[in-house]
Amino acid sequence: MKKSHTLALYADMDEAANALKELKSSGMSGFRMEDVVVKSPIDHPELSELLGPRPVYIQWFTLLGVLLGPTTGLVLIASAQASFIYQVRGGRPVVPLPPDMVLTYELFILSGVLMTVLATFVAMKLPGNRSPLYNASVSEDKIGILVKADPQSIPQINEILGRHKPLEIMGDQAR
């Protein structure tokens, strides 16, 4: 079924929190708490807690980066040095590990950073299109609660959202 959206704007964080609590406890059909999105000018862990678990997987990509980067880097450096194996080295090692560790360390950091950034953009769905229900005031000082639900549930959701002194409630066409 096509879903509809509704966005309520709040000036007060406590009211927004109360609206979320009531939505959560309403138990109505045609709507899931996972489809509720809070938009705010800063991170609000207090509100995020009410939304339930929203796992973050970025650290796994970081781990992948810090494992692959130095390994690949060291292999490349060592293989480059090993290509001079027939050159007279005066008793010094062909692949001197201690000095190679410097570049390996730098590649460890670089690949960790790059993988973190890449994973972040994927996780944040950026670059992305702005939702039609975006309101610029959520980047200033308002808190927005965006709910995606079945069209028949929207009136009831709006009623709940409206009970907590919203500044405005906006909706879109079913899609």
Binding site: V37, V38, K39, S40, P41, I42, D43, H44, L47, S48, L51, R54, V56, I58, Q59, T62, L76, I77, A80, Q81, S83, F84, P96, P99, D100, V102, L103, Y105, E106, L107, I109, L110, G112, V113, L114, T116, V117, A119, T120, F121, A123, M124, K125, L126, P127, G128, N129, R130, S131, Y134, A136, V138, S139, E140, D141, L146
Partner: protein, 487 residues
């Protein structure tokens, strides 16, 4: 009727209460809407002195470009660089600029990791400073080489002629470390700006709007975006701090792994890192005062924040002083007679003025920061912060030039060597280049982090709310059994 402390829900928030109330970093009149308004205004209408600074910097940079073109066309001889004085001002200034960037990372990464909230209004421009100082430092690698087309030999990549770079050379380490640092700092700066770029997008018009729309990439401030953003930002901060330490340690190995007198010192890496932090902190104080006036950031760049910055600078200056003295003591009590002679030459020879100038500017002048008048008088503080950086630049000069002037072999001695006007011109141009880029950045991008200052305001409000709630509970006599220090 007696109530248990734990039975009152408002007491769940633990708030430290002292007899002397803590001075707030931000005033009570700062609201979220005001933050947007003030910072966005800084992008539109800075004070007219902005243009004076910008065009002065442009003029200086143009002169630097002229000197570089002159050097390129006539050869390195016009710079008076010759054996053994092969580095001159270029590498001294290169180290100076690399060092300047470190405090940006200290403020933006280390203080972020330890949740020192006072950094929030000032870390953005510090991070920008890091990025632009690295760009400036990178120029000196090219300038110093003279033959620009050979730059790719220092980059660690394979090529079909099997002329691999020497992976065990500190110069290749340098190029890799600085490349990594520049890339990571740029990404860290950009990543941290995304929520603010969205604010700019929502309020700008015309070409600026298009720019911010492109750069903010559709950020909407959703809870999922914030959750991912916070984890990513913290992760990057954790990478940045050791990276910054490694970069300047590697720069120090350019010297420390050589046999030149005065350089072969074990304490060089920490000495360089601390020197970098020291000059960077002084630079941040300079820019603090300039930006505060030029962009009217009086509400955000406040005296309590400046006090903390000054305390940090003073502490770092003292550690640096200690390491510098340790370096001299190691040489003095060591068995390397040439190094000892080099130390005496530094203090009493042709470059004694620079040596004692460094001692005065970088070791004595920090003590003026202990004077309240200095901390509160911005003109005096601006001058002192500049003097500290002159001291740190002299430090780099006197590491390099006296050592080359009087090294192991008497037939290479070039006592009294002095750089040519071309070198001075390029060094001056680098200051113009940095200032120009930095001021341009502050005019186009928010140099105060709006969302983080909002977090500060939010936390201050929550704290006040909790304090008020506690006061109410006390006044109502609900917690008679609690003692002053605990409440």
């Amino acid at each position: 009727m007696s109530h248990s402390v734990h039975s009152h829900p408002q007491l769940d928030v633990q708030v430290e209460r002292k007899f002397i109330p803590k001075q707030k970093d931000l005033g009570a009149d700062v609201t979220w809407a005001k933050i947007n308004k003030d910072v966005l205004r800084s992008l539109e209408k800075p004070r007219p002195v902005f243009w004076v600074i910008f065009f002065s910097a442009l003029a200086l940079f143009s002169f630097g470009v002229y000197c570089e073109v002159y050097q390129y066309q006539n050869g390195m001889g016009v710079a008076d660089l010759n054996n053994p004085q092969v580095w001159g001002l270029y590498i001294a200034t290169f180290i100076f600029w690399i060092g300047m960037g470190h405090s940006g990372t200290l403020l933006s990464a280390l203080l972020h990791i330890i949740h020192a909230d006072w950094r929030k209004p000032i870390y953005r421009y510090s991070e920008a400073m890091t990025t632009f100082t690295l760009l400036t430092a990178a120029l000196f690698v090219l300038v110093h080489m003279g033959r620009l087309w050979q730059f790719y030999y220092v980059v660690a990549y394979p090529n079909e002629r099997w002329t691999w770079p020497n992976f065990t050379s500190p110069l290749v380490w340098d190029a890799t470390a600085i490349g990594t640092y520049l890339t990571s700092s740029l990404l860290f700066l950009y990543m941290g700006m995304i929520p603010d770029l969205a604010i700019c997008r929502d309020n700008a018009r015309g070409a600026r709007r298009a720019l911010y729309r492109f750069l903010s990439m559709g950020w909407q401030g959703t809870d999922r975006q914030w959750a991912n953003f916070k984890v990513a930002y913290m992760t990057m901060a954790c990478f940045l701090m050791p990276l910054a330490v490694s970069v300047h340690s590697i720069v120090s190995t350019d010297f420390a792994v050589s046999q030149n007198p005065g350089w072969h010192v074990t304490s060089f890496p920490p000495y360089f890192v601390l020197g970098a932090l020291y000059s960077g902190c002084s630079g941040i104080i300079t820019l603090f005062i300039v930006l505060r006036y030029v962009f009217r950031f009086e509400a955000y760049m406040t005296q309590p924040i400046l006090n903390k910055l000054i305390k940090m600078t003073f502490a770092i200056a003292m550690v640096w002083t200690y390491l510098d003295l340790i370096e001299y003591a190691t040489t003095w009590y060591g068995s390397d007679e040439v190094a000892k002679a080099d130390l005496i030459y530094r203090a009493t020879g042709d470059y004694a003025l620079q040596f004692w100038g460094m001692i005065f500017c970088a070791m004595v002048m920090p003590f003026t920061l202990l004077i309240r008048f200095v901390r509160h008088n911005y003109v005096v503080l601006l001058i002192i912060s500049l003097i500290l950086n002159v001291g740190m630049w002299l430090e780099r000069f006197q590491i390099i030039t006296p050592t080359f002037a009087k090294s192991h072999y008497p037939w290479t001695w070039t006592a009294g060597w002095w750089p040519s006007w071309v070198q001075w011109g390029i060094v001056a141009g680098s200051f113009g280049w940095f200032t120009m880029l930095f001021m341009l950045y502050c005019k186009i991008f928010p140099s105060v982090s709006m969302y983080e200052v909002k977090e500060m305001v939010h936390e201050q409000n929550m704290e006040e709310k909790a304090l008020a709630a506690q006061t109410d509970v006390h006044e109502a006599g609900l917690v008679p059994e609690m003692k002053g220090g605990q409440a």
